[in-house]
Symmetry: D2
Subunit: 358 residues, 4 copies
């Protein structure tokens, strides 16, 4: 259970870090969506390991292969299977931890839950699974772009280095201009330097990815349980290493008064608008047409290049030594993952919203 | 869509603020659970309006009525319907806002999404719906208590007044000893005074509810999408007025290094334990047997007793004036709601976990 | 599990034969559907016990009560709860079978599955549950009638008395003109006489309900698993006492040759039509615009007024003696139930079909 | 929508007749199930085209490839992806029908529903999709065999040639001894001769597959909608070319009296048994421990080697001429498909049943 996501646009992901392949089946993709393999590949490239000095140095092509559901360049309404064959497996890198439980990894919980465990590179619990999300998300993003909807994520914090500028004052086109994916170039440089230092210290650090969704219609989200922000929250929290989610005013809204926090309605160009947007584009769990924005907190990567005390499967005390090639900070590669999950949520709600009225 | 929640222990809630009743149908409740009407009622009483000077002064009994699924005091495995009849309807209180869109309420989004709208007291978007969750959650809580699992929420912040003490150093039995439901009595008093002042100022303020779940078995949560914290996050974010969710180290974990953040495994009393618990009891989306803890951010209540500018359904500028009896701060009444939603998530995962092994 | 049905138009039924009430919550009903209480009641009246000499003589009003989801006569898009309070409970009638397993009833299987059992009148396994389906189906039927779709069921067989005339040659308006609900008056009379004789013999007999759905658009059904006829089949088989389902040529189609069975396409009035309709309006699991028709087999009612050998919960041999007031043949009251389930399936697929194209 | 099936043991199939591959992802397979590739292959071989003179002469290896979810020969509890690459594609065989709607095929309905269509060999509507079901079903069958449950299907009718012997008097081990898969050798020979004659006449014919499930525990099935026979019915009706389903006494039970049809309970060897089994092993939608048996009706294959009148996508009259290599009768190859779908249903209910009691 747990590897199927979505109501109408429903994805089923499969594959382990060091298995044969990682992939996804999309059931419920509307027919007639342009399926642009090069766009899907470009999204995967944004997530790809080895893309810069501040990501893992593993080199994997992550070449997408479309197996079904597409005919003459368009979706046919039948299941779309896409997969990436694993190349750089190096299973021996992991033999040293086959019996050990790495601290703050999923080794112990998987072993207990399932009774057995594919220990190679974390198996199914590896963040490599997220490439399947990015591939499916690329299809969703393309569909959404046909409706004029854009989804843009960026890094807004690394360790204590925080981008305080609100997104409205940023040029989000700058995001891809640097390897940390922060649209403020000076801060980006500081973040990069900091991560580089942390890496040299054989350590890791956390960060925040912010995301802005623009041009959504009014009416997305299905209260009372499937509120738009509840589903966005679940989607983000399901990404590896995520520890928190907030939208609109978020945790900072706590200390505001209602009279400060409320977003006043007015009419502009015959459109209903709000003067402020503490609601983050969502009221009562339903999009109100304003920009949707949210922040996602990522913890420091659990694999560090230092020795750590731990235990093995037999309960013996042992030492875990980080080996292999890992990310010192997950956020630059998390940017396309956040966008992908957001696209899946928004498209699914777009399709559901078609059923709201007689 | 959107009013059904859960995989096995599945609830379907119904009812509007000023309709005839609010209730819930639970499908998939295991047979043989003791259904204790007085316990369900006591949980509803914790959520009830009019319970103290810092909550709304509306007086409603919220008397639970069990309609089906129970025989000789126990669940039979068939659907349990429970409902509360609405008594204090006062529909006329709302006639003044029938055509107006109240700022930061769901009036506009519901009207657009559905094309029509039950404007009486917010209709379905009213937090009155949460009593159905509390009733279902009480059944789940009772079931969990049979397995020794406890769920305890408390208020940890109101405006800027923040309880910094970690939960381990608090006496959570104190939570119910004061009307704000903060287990630290001195801080509780400050919070109460502050809310009282805000209320006199015809304003509202936000807060945080923290929650601790103890004695869960290892193995709850279904990666990769239905991770335990992802589902807890969705459940919490689906509660009215929630703007953020974090678990374990949460947003504060961002600035930590991996070497500080990782939770070292050791053996204690033949049990696998971790020395710290930045993971919040969840690793790889699966419970690891340590305490699960999380924080839920609530915004200031949107209904304030001040005049606000807004528009009506025809797009005309208008003024909205708060009337009726509303909460100046939602958190004291949110405590049992947070617990209820947590209980629904945990019990559902307990049942799913029975299917994990051959 | 198992009391929730549908994808978008999703119903959750509750209640036992001798509990407090039987009812349903509809989640996902589109907003703006006219909710006509008198029509819902009239459908319930067609299912009501005591309506004629060939049905059970239990007298129950089965008065529908709408609890939520309707405002100013229309659905609001929020959950619609409807229920019927049980009046004629006579629990004592059932004390004699509290510990006995009635042959071909659900007594034994419920007791084993759940470990306890509400033995009063069959509890949840009673066909009384179907009134919830009829109420929900009435809402769906009304919605479908707005799109011009009609659903008409009728009795086509009782014991060996079989209506051989194809539905196209029948006047289906005649169905409600007699108490057996067979549109061929002479045959209807024979069926009624036969049932009356069976009843006097303290026995019961089975029958067939046929159903015709007209004016559906092309495109309903979601292959490969949720084919239109697969879902219709499940819906019908889920009705109490049903033993078989066939559509179009059904079991008789087996012995045909492909060259006889294939439905030739042609154009009529600029519409794609087929010359024959062995396909029963469904090709590849998707409606093709022709009439959908199917047949549902009902077994003889298990409760007979004769003594039968059986065992009790302790494994002792015992005798079960039919008491109370029961149907000698279920089909006349099954007609509205078959229509209701068909309406639920068709409306759900109508809503899903809105998501098929970009 | 529609290509995902199951509640816990959930499969998602993908692939078209002439696309790159056909496959399946199983989510929710319990960990620790032996995954026996050779057994899966042997099941596929039973379904394989070209296996005898009475099946299509297309030659395809249908070699299974396991992509994920298996480690050291056992399921790990994570998604199992399996696929078969298409080899014998011959797309040009189909160019002649690219614009034509073949009678009683899914060409027209797919084209209308989705607006575009992969016309090569029927695309997604081809029965080639069922190999994914057989692969997933083989995993389920293996799991069930660990619990001692057996599932055996066989051909019981071809055209008018009908096997009247009840299954109890047959030696089901004989089923695989002949190419029609009928356990009565003399009748098998007649069926084979008849099909051979039909094939020479360039025509096709229908048939029936019967199925017996033995050694199931009491308690499978989830009333009121997910009754065991309702889900079996849906599963069977979702197979290509199926027109009807009946279980236990089925359509023949209609004409019986209740006093004849009821299955008397008695105790044998300390087990609750019934003297007859008109119930087909299912009472109230729940297995009662007796043998489950049912019959599935298949129509004659729509592709015949004769010219037929039809229309094309522009509405012009045209002639469709059967080409390529097709089955004259689908039932011998349908036997493993029926077994596979039954295995999926039974295993899913086995897992769900673990959640029935506290």
């Amino acid at each position: 259970m747990g590897s199927v996501y979505g109501n109408i646009f429903k994805i089923s992901t499969f594959g382990e870090s060091h298995g044969r392949a990682v992939g996804v089946v999309i059931d419920g993709c509307p027919a007639g969506i342009e399926i642009d393999e090069s766009f899907i590949q470009s999204e995967l490239d944004r997530r790809r390991p080895g893309q810069s000095k501040i990501t893992t140095q593993r080199q994997e092509d992550d070449k997408i292969e479309i197996v079904s559901g597409v005919f003459e360049g368009k979706s046919t309404g039948t299941p779309i299977c896409m997969l990436v064959w694993n190349q750089d497996q190096r299973s021996k890198d992991y033999s040293h931890i086959a019996e050990k439980f790495r601290p703050s990894h999923a080794d112990y919980t998987y072993a207990e839950k399932y009774g057995n465990r594919d220990y190679r590179g974390g198996g199914r619990s590896s963040a490599r699974e997220t490439l399947a999300r990015v591939a499916a998300g690329a299809v969703a993003k393309k569909a959404l772009s046909q409706y004029g909807i854009s989804i843009q994520a960026y890094v807004s914090q690394v360790g204590k280095i925080k981008l305080e500028t609100p997104y409205q004052e940023l040029n989000l086109e700058e995001t891809e201009s640097n390897i940390i994916r922060c649209p403020e170039p000076n801060l980006a440089m500081k973040m990069i330097e900091y991560i580089d230092q942390v890496r040299k210290d054989c350590d890791t650090v956390g960060g925040v990815v912010s995301c802005v969704i623009q041009n959504t219609p009014v009416g997305l989200g299905e209260p009372v349980f499937d509120k738009l922000h509840a589903e966005l929250g679940k989607a983000m929290l399901s990404i590896n290493a995520v520890k928190g989610f907030e939208y609109g005013s978020g945790f900072d809204g706590i200390a505001m008064l209602g009279s400060q926090h409320n977003d006043e309605f007015y009419i502009n160009d015959n459109k209903v608008r709000t003067k402020t947007n503490h609601s983050g584009g969502i009221q009562g769990g339903i999009s109100n047409g304003e920009d949707i924005y949210f922040r996602v907190a990522f913890k420091p990567v659990a694999t560090i290049m230092k020795d750590q005390n731990s235990i093995d499967a037999k309960g013996n005390t042992t030492t875990v030594s980080g080996k292999g090639r890992h990310d010192p900070c997950v956020v630059p590669r998390a940017v396309p993952i956040v966008e992908a999950m957001a696209a899946l949520v928004i498209l699914d709600f777009m399709l559901l919203a078609r059923t709201n009225k007689a």
